[in-house]
Amino acid sequence: MTIALETKGLTKDYRSPVKEPGLWGGVKALFDRQFKDTRAVDAVSFKIEEGELVGFLGANGAGKTTTLKMLSGLLTPTSGEATALGHVPWKREAAFQKKISLVMGQRTQLWWEIPALETFKLNQAIYGIPEAEFKMHLTELVDLLELGDHLQVPVKKLSLGQRMRAEMAAALLHRPKLLLLDEPTIGLDVVMQKKVREFVKAYNVRNGATIMLTSHNMTDVVELCKRVIVIERGRLLYDGSLDRLVERYADHKIFKVRFSKPISAADLGQFGTVVNVADMTAEIEVPRAEVAAAAAAILRTYPVKDFNIEDVDIDDIVRRLFTHS
C-alpha cells in the first residue's frame, strides 16, 4: 500500500503575548511585551495509508486542529517533518493544493450573499476543473448530499445543515485525494449528522480518498473509522483500532433513568457506580458485561418512567486513556 500521510516528530509551538492583569499590566505590555511559548503539538509521528479513514480524537485544545492545519499547509511546524501525497504541505505548491481539501465545520468558504453555485464555479476556475468533469462531479455531489435546488438560493438563507452540505460539496468538487475534516457534524441535528456521515463514507469508498477527521461526536467516529489516533496535550496517546480502544477504556455504559418516585443512591449502587442522583433521575455507570442483566433488574424492581443506555462520550474515553497512561 502507498502511504498518503506521514509525520515524524511533528511539533508546533505557539507564541502568545502575556499580559499582567490590570491597567498597569496593560501599560507595561505596551513597552515591554513578554511572550510565552505553548506546545500545541508535541513530537507526533504516524503513517496513514492511501484510502484509509482515520478518526483523530482528543479533548478541546489537544492539538487536533493544529495538526490538521500543518497537514494542509496552513501552518509551518516548529520542528519535525510531514509528507502528504508526496509533498511537504507547508510549501503550499499548487500541485499539492489541487489534491487536498480542508473542511472546518466552523468556517465557511461560501460567499454569504449569493447562491452557493457561484462559489462552486469560482472553485471550478481555481482548481481548473474542465466543464464536463465539473458537471459530472456536481451532479454526483448534489445527489449524494441531497442539495436539490438549495444551490440557487443565497447562502445566508440556507439552514445550518444545508450550508454545511453545500460547504462539503464546495470542498470536494475537485475530487481531493486527501480530505481533512475538522468537526464536520458540529451544530447539526441527528438527521443531518447521519447524512453527512453517510456521505463521508461514500466519498471514501467511491474515490479511494484518504480521510482524516476530528469529531466530538462518538457516533461519527464509531460509524466511520476503524482506526483512531488519540492525542492529549499535543502528545500521541493511542494509534490503533477503535474496537481495541473502546474495549480497553470504555468498559462501561451509562444508564440514564427517570423514576416515578425518589430512589436512594444506596439502592442503585448494586448495579454499578452511581454518578449522579437528583430527585427522581439517576445516572449509573454499569460494566459492559452486566448491562443486560442490570437493565432487566432495574426495570423489574423500580417504577421506571424513562430509560436510556448511552455510550461513554469520547472525551471521557480520552480522559480515561490519559489517566491510564
Partner: protein, 264 residues
C-alpha cells in the same frame, strides 16, 4: 486567468446584491460632493476665478472628485482586515490561488459598479448646471486622464492591501487603515485642490504618492498640466506603483509566513 474573471464576476454580483450598502456608500459620497459644490459655489460668488481655477474649472474639479473617489478609493480593505483577523483567510491559503490577484479582481468589480454610479450622479448634476463644466476636447487629454486615474486606482489598491495585511501581526490594524484613509482623502486632494495648501506643505506632499490619487488626474483632465509635464508625472506615478506593488507583496508574504509560524 479564468479564476480572476470568476472572482470579478462573483464580486460584481455581491456588490449589486448588497443594495443597501451600495446605496449608503453612494449617498454618502454624493453628499460630500454636493456640499463641496455648494461651498465652492458660495466662495466663488461673483468672482470669475480663485487660486487660478475659473468657476467652470473649480466646479468640474468637484464633480471629478466624485468619479475619482469611486474609481480610486473603492476597495475591500476592511474586509481583508476582517478575513485575516477572523481566520477566514485560511480557506484561501489552502486553495491554489494567489490571494492578491484575487483581491484585486474583487476590488475591480466594486470599482466598476461605483464608477458607473458616480458617472450617473455627475450626469444628473451636469444637467442642472448646464454649460458650467469644463469638458476637454483633445483626445490626448482623455487618454492621459484615463492613464493617470487608472494608475492611481492601482496604487491605492496596493497601498490599502499593504496596510490591511498588518492584520497578520496585530488585531488592531483597523486603526492604521482608518488613519490612512482619512489622511489620504486630504492629501490626495479629494476635498479640495491642493493649491489651497501653503506652498511648503504642497511641496512636501508632492514628494509623496498621495497627490497622484485625485489632484493629479483632475489637473490633467482640466488641462492644467502641459502634455510633457503630464507624461513626466505619469512616469513618476508608474514608479510609485512599482514601489507599492513590491511593498504590498512583501508585507503580504511575510505576513502569511508569520501567520503560518504563529498559528491561525
Amino acid at each position: 486567468m479564468t479564476k480572476y474573471l470568476r472572482a470579478y464576476s462573483i464580486s460584481l454580483q455581491e456588490t449589486l446584491q448588497r443594495r443597501t450598502t451600495l446605496m449608503m456608500d453612494r449617498v454618502g459620497g454624493f453628499a460630500i460632493v454636493l456640499s463641496l459644490f455648494s461651498f465652492w459655489n458660495a466662495l466663488l460668488g461673483d468672482k470669475s476665478s480663485f487660486l487660478g481655477y475659473s468657476r467652470q474649472e473649480m466646479l468640474t474639479y468637484v464633480l471629478l472628485i466624485n468619479v475619482l473617489r469611486a474609481l480610486v478609493f473603492t476597495g475591500r480593505g476592511w474586509q481583508l482586515v476582517g478575513e485575516i483577523s477572523s481566520g477566514r483567510i485560511s480557506s484561501y491559503l489552502v486553495r491554489p490561488i494567489d490571494y492578491y490577484g484575487y483581491a484585486l479582481a474583487l476590488d475591480l468589480a466594486q470599482k466598476t459598479v461605483h464608477v458607473v454610479f458616480a458617472f450617473l450622479e455627475v450626469a444628473i448634476l451636469a444637467v442642472f448646471i448646464r454649460g458650467a463644466l469644463f469638458i476637454p476636447t483633445r483626445w490626448e487629454t482623455w487618454l492621459m486622464f484615463v492613464l493617470a486615474a487608472g494608475l492611481s486606482s492601482l496604487i491605492f489598491f496596493f497601498m490599502e492591501f499593504m496596510i490591511s495585511s498588518l492584520a497578520f501581526w496585530t488585531s488592531e490594524s483597523g486603526g492604521p487603515l482608518f488613519c490612512f484613509e482619512l489622511f489620504l482623502s486630504f492629501a490626495a486632494g479629494a476635498f479640495f485642490p491642493l493649491d489651497v495648501l501653503p506652498e511648503a506643505l504642497r511641496r512636501a506632499l508632492s514628494a509623496t504618492p498621495f497627490p497622484y490619487m485625485v489632484y493629479f488626474p483632475a489637473r490633467v483632465f482640466l488641462e492644467k498640466v502641459s502634455p510633457t509635464e503630464a507624461a513626466k508625472l505619469i512616469a513618476i506615478e508608474s514608479c510609485w506603483l512599482v514601489v507599492f506593488i513590491a511593498a504590498a507583496l512583501s508585507v503580504w508574504h511575510v505576513g502569511v509566513n508569520s501567520y503560518a509560524a504563529e498559528g491561525g
